[in-house]
Symmetry: C2
Subunit: 227 residues, 2 copies
DNA sequence: ACCTGAACACCGTTCAAGT
DNA sequence: ACCTGAACACCGTTCAAGT
């Protein structure tokens, strides 16, 4: 054992593959969903994986590249949408499916806000979505605009609901929010105060996302009917 | 002017204020709009203000508190919306006004995504928005749901358009995005490829936000008419 | 190819202190 | 009250290696 060398105090190394691209990404997603993307550091992720921090740089050039890989992985969890049938059902299936992924993986929303899309990740979903709108009878420019409008609605709902869900999990934050709202002057903000119960029930409540989605689909139906 | 007194109580011209709450916040917003919230550090902000880094802790207990102050300040830039008139005009004025603030202050969107609202910041806007919807004839639960649905749309549009604007300012990123989209197989994604010009024209293009807003307002009008 | 500790240039924040 | 430099415990990443 003992050697006359100065013995750099090197630790034993795993020369075999100790981790993989996939296992890093899915572990990172799990940790980010639990504690937020910013709480996951290279060092903490490496420790969770049981490797040295620098090992991760064999698989990713930078932390941003890891963020992108996690975001793409989460987006890929969306099941392939149906390619035929009533256009309304197809649009609804695509958007509720994406909404479910956003809610089940709260860090995805923060990753989407932080890093711009490269353009390839959601190609299958985009294809199915645009196809449904073209099949519905919208001309190309209108189909593109409708597609974007629905994506706006989806992203905003995911962003808002993620925060509400995070708050409801934190008793202190929830208490503080409620106290702030209750402290609002009924003289200055009568409608807000009067509707406080409805707002509390509505925000991040089952049915809220679908309510707005139905609204937009109703407008599209009307437009197709020549309204 | 040296005195031999320990001079515990002496506070001659008691340390003049080098900065103020307001000047810190507006400088921070300007820097964040220019380079993104994460690029602004306590040290860089203090240097811009010409004070020591620790000076800022006289005004803010933490960086998160500074983030919140900047976010509240940016939200307050929205002019007070009209309190009477046609409900459609009022809703449109409120949402387009907020949309303008989100576009003019791109860091606001990232601050909203990062930090939950405390509940008091947008009380005036919320009051005006809910009031318009109640005046339109929606009952309280429906007014609350419509309010949230429109906010979803607003937030999503701000989030998406901020990214597109940031990309279009970065030639390298724009080139890369375009290359990725152009590399999409026309066999696998025929509709995406066919609509690529429309998508490029539509995203973050003048009129896109209003297109979706009109869609939602049309649906509300229809609903009020008993459709 | 895969893995690693040490080291570098940062960061937010605490501390003790100076006016 | 207001302001400050030094110091602490981090962080992502570069480097120079080790297998």
């Amino acid at each position: 054992m003992a050697t006359s060398e100065p013995a750099r105090t090197t630790r034993p190394r795993a020369s075999r593959k100790a981790v993989s691209h996939d296992v890093i990404v899915s572990t990172a997603l799990r940790m980010m969903d639990a504690a937020g993307p910013e709480a996951v550091t290279i060092r903490s992720l490496a420790e969770e994986l049981g490797v040295g921090a620098m090992t991760l740089y064999t698989y990713f050039r930078s932390k941003d590249e890891l963020y992108d890989a996690v975001r793409d992985h989460a987006l890929g969890l969306q099941p392939v949408p149906p390619a035929e049938g009533d256009w309304e059902d197809r649009v609804r299936a695509i958007l509720t499916g994406l909404h479910r992924v956003l809610i089940e993986h709260p860090s995805l929303m923060q990753l989407l806000a932080r890093r711009p899309l490269a353009g390839h990740e959601p190609a299958e979903i985009t294809e199915a979505h645009l196809r449904a709108l073209r099949d519905a009878g919208f001309d190309p420019p209108t189909a593109a605009r409708v597609h974007i409008a629905l994506i706006y609605y989806l992203l905003g709902s995911g962003m808002w609901e993620r925060q509400r869900i995070a708050e409801s999990a934190d008793p202190e934050e929830r208490r503080q929010f409620r106290a702030t709202v209750e402290a609002l002057s009924a003289r200055d903000y009568p409608t807000v105060v009067a509707l406080a119960p409805e707002l509390a029930h509505t925000v991040a409540h089952p049915g809220q996302f679908e309510f707005g989605l139905d609204l937009m689909i109703a407008a599209l139906r009307q437009r197709l009917a020549g309204g």
